[in-house]
Amino acid sequence: MPTSALIELCILIPACGALFIAVSGRSPNLREGITLSTALGLLCVVAALYLRPDALHLAPIILGEPLPGLQFKLALEPLGMLFAGIASLLWVITSLYTIGYMRGNSESHQTRLYVCFAIALASTMGIALAGNLITMFLFYELLTMSTYPLVAHKQDHDAIAGGRFYLGILISTSVGLLLPAIIWVWQLSGTTNFTPGGILGSQLEPATVTMLLLMFAYGIGKAALMPIHRWLPEAMVAPTPVSALLHAVAVVKAGVFCMVKVVLYIFGVELLSASGSNVILTSIAGFTIVTASIIALRQDNLKRRLAYSTISQLSYITLAVSLLTPQAITGAAFHIASHAFGKITLFFAAGAIYTAAHKTRVSELNGIGRRMPVTMCAFAVASLSMIGLPPAGGFLSKWYIFQGAMVNDNLAVVALFLCSTLLNTSYLLPIVYVAFFKKESHPPHNAHGEAPLTMVIALTATAMLSLILFFWPQIPLHLASMLPGVGQ
């Protein structure tokens, strides 16, 4: 099979999967079988793509041309490969988890959930493989649209209000800022193709560069830079598997992924460092890291605390790429992977606690580690990854970003890192501590053990991935080493 067909399959498989899931809605077993096999099929295709030597040097695949010169096209590059790999791998695990969760909580409208999940994955693949800004924008909007029904899933007042907020923020930033930014790029350079080293040339005024960069930074609302981060905690009304895959992996990672792509492939490292406007991005991201961590400290609802932690961790990636040094860019790419594995484990654990014990608050978790040891162990491993301690993947990404900051003697960033590590520790480790070492203060209604088996398997698997990433980081590092701004 030609490599270009494999690239197309990455989008087609989940899209067709969505269709089949919709048709097979009457039989839950068939529906979930199709979900799992679609996810597995996608993973195989992405793996095959990684093994193809020519995959990264392929001519772009053109899907359509609405205006002369304005094309929808797909092209694979290292970062997209990494993102596609993470998303497809975690989809398989999440599918397992979702089945357990949805049955365990006997949720309604399950078919719609699975269909939207598959469409969201198709859009995520589209973002990962987009060959230019227009295609990226297209799939970015599709991702927003397809995740809206997931957020509003419960259909009660809170869920619909949360869904409105989610859609409102994401659509208005993307249409109001991202789209004009893209059109402006098109106006300036006559193209929107992702080209290593950027397409804007070196003649632009620093003021224009800064303006454009800000439009992109806030237009890509999914990257959750403050002050447009509020959609993320609002979206936590969704069922936990949705929060796990979409709001720890697909949606938010799509945001930072787009951010990194724009910096590396549209502006280019040279233009940004020459104009000095990257400093603005660094400061916004730095501010977000610290502020979101402080807010996370004060959240009692477990999922909301994790949401604010996500906001802060996402800004690590934005901050890293804005430093523009090779080590920092490597760190940014690596953090996409390590944060994904870590955060999804945390969400899985939160969902498992909800399913088994019906607890959603941090203050109710005293002693829960004795009832659910596997879940809380996984939670502990993921917490280490978030904080950036060995032996978890998060350590390596922080290591690289730290190095990237030291190269430029960027002491402010170094100080910021120390501060945020302290904050991370203080909002995550107490949960682990009380779970294992405190007496149960809120006895559950019934003596429960672990959550259903598929959920436990899923969260163990992701926790293992976090560890594996520490010991065998070759694949993400290899891909990161091929990024523009790193390789030369």
Binding site: P66, A152, G163
Partner: protein, 494 residues
């Protein structure tokens, strides 16, 4: 074939009396169907010839222009002809079931006959090269549309039609005065000849007051016809209470044809240079922006969804006239392209309204509860139309919005760019209100009666429109080619 231009008008015009002669609703429908499809075929042939070998000219009765009436087709009106016939060719198969339900059986042959007359009028406006002939066709189409709107199922249709009649007649009379004044200036009614006389006798840069008056009358009259804010008052009622098919038909064709007339008079007759201190662009710019913002906001507060879409139409017309007011190549191309794309998306959205009113009986927001599950195909089509209206990529709406924003950036009108985008966001709000109700509001316990999907004869044209909306979002080479040729032509003078 050399007689194509006259066939374009004469086919529906001759088929109209046939509908009444047979006086049977099925035969009448079939005659109308054949006539519209034949017109569509003719317009395709014309478009092909125009693209291949340039403008076509046809002298009626063998009298050469400027003495006789000539039909003159260039890439601009070939495009308009395609829009009008294309939409009617899709609306007619749709009409069968919808009209059966909404209109008294005895009036149905008259209904189809009037529809054909209206079509003939619209095609006549688009194809003729003679200013007075244009007026006659305008009145032909308007008179039949007053009657068609008055046939709506609710009694408010009658008052809506009356209101439209009064405002439409005032508009048409203004146009008549304008044409008369142009005639007294140049002694000619042929548009090309008027333009030639004006330029040859140096009337255009000389500050001639008759010319100014003529254009003031024509612009105001046409603004009434095309429902340019704030002369749009007739439109919401007319669209809301008209029979479903008529709303589909008028929303996607009648206003477009009026815009075409404005383009023709303003650009082909005087050219793009300013008549006096003001250019057309400066006059139209503010009403267009006001239309985009105000009508979108008003649309958000409507509970009758057909009425909401009517207000959205006014906003979309604002986009078209905004492109027109830019008076540069990219702005004009965007405007002309948006005529086409707006016809596609509004046609589609009003088709879904027709289907909902067919199955549910009315189109209030509360009627949409739970429809996502009960009418999945109709609501799916509504979502696609809505996405197109918002300007999401891979839909037709995106392409024209892209071109419009690009044209505004080219001129450095950043404030206009912001307003265009605010307009899109407002569209998101009013479309999403419906989607949310349809998918996330459960049915009330009381409503147990079975509401099913609309019949296939409504769904097929609807989904053809869906496909068109998506196809022209992915590959709009053909309409863009037409729009750019037409824009070049308009800016280059005749």
């Amino acid at each position: 074939m050399s007689h194509l231009p006259i066939l374009q008008v004469i086919i529906p015009l001759l088929a109209a009396p046939l509908c009444i002669v047979f006086n049977n609703r099925r035969i009448a429908w079939f005659v109308a169907l054949c006539a519209t499809w034949a017109s569509f075929g003719v317009s395709l042939l014309i478009a092909q010839q125009v693209l291949q070998s340039g403008a076509l000219s046809y002298d009626i009765g063998g009298w050469p222009a400027p003495w006789g009436i000539d039909y003159y087709v260039d890439s601009l009106n070939a495009f308009v002809l395609l829009i009008v016939t294309g939409i009617s060719a899709l609306a007619l198969p749709y009409a069968n079931r919808s009209v059966e339900q909404e209109i008294d059986p005895r009036s149905q042959p008259y209904f189809y006959s009037l529809l054909l007359v209206c079509l003939a009028g619209l095609l006549g406006i688009s194809i003729t090269g003679d200013a007075f002939n244009m007026y006659v066709f305008l009145e032909l189409s308007s008179l039949s549309s007053y009657a068609l709107i008055g046939m709506g199922p609710r009694r408010r249709a009658l008052t809506a039609a009356y209101q439209y009649l009064v405002m439409g007649t005032i508009g048409a009379t203004f146009i008549l005065i304008g044409i008369g004044l142009l005639y007294s200036l140049t002694g000619s009614l042929n548009i090309q000849d008027i333009s030639y006389q004006l330029h040859a006798n140096n009337i255009i840069g000389s500050g001639n007051r008759t010319l100014l008056t003529a254009f003031a009358f024509i612009t105001v009259g046409l603004s009434l016809k095309l429902a340019l804010f704030p002369l749009h008052l007739w439109l919401p009622n007319a669209y809301t209470y008209a029979p479903s098919v008529i709303t589909i038909f008028l929303a996607s064709t009648a206003t477009k044809v009026a815009i075409y007339m404005l383009l023709r008079f303003c650009y082909c007759v005087v050219g793009s240079e300013s008549i006096f201190q003001l250019t057309l662009g400066q006059i139209v710019l503010l009403p267009s922006l006001a239309a985009i913002i105000v009508s979108s906001v008003v649309a958000i507060f409507q509970y009758d969804i057909k009425r909401m879409l009517a207000y959205s139409s006014i906003a979309q017309i604002g986009y078209i006239t905004l492109g027109l007011s830019m008076s540069n190549h990219s702005g004009l191309s965007a405007a002309i392209l948006h005529m086409f794309n707006h016809a596609l998306m509004k046609g589609l959205l009003f088709m879904t309204m027709g289907a909902v009113s067919y199955s549910v009986g009315s189109v209030y927001l509360t009627d949409f509860r739970g429809l996502g599950r009960r009418m999945p195909f109709t609501m799916g089509a509504f979502i696609v139309g809505g996405l197109s209206l918002m300007g999401i990529p891979m839909t037709a709406g995106f392409v024209s919005k892209w071109m419009l924003v690009q044209a505004a950036i080219e001129l450095g009108w950043w404030d206009v760019v912001i307003l265009i985008l605010i307009g899109s966001l407002l569209a998101v709000i009013y479309i999403w209100r419906v989607v949310e109700t349809a998918y996330f509001n459960p049915l009330l316990e009381l409503e147990e009666e079975e509401i099913g999907e609309a019949p296939l004869s409504l769904l097929i044209p609807m989904w053809l429109m869906v496909i068109a909306n998506i196809y022209f979002g992915i590959n709009s080479a053909i309409p863009v080619e037409f729009a750019q040729q037409a824009a070049t032509l308009l800016l280059g003078g005749m």
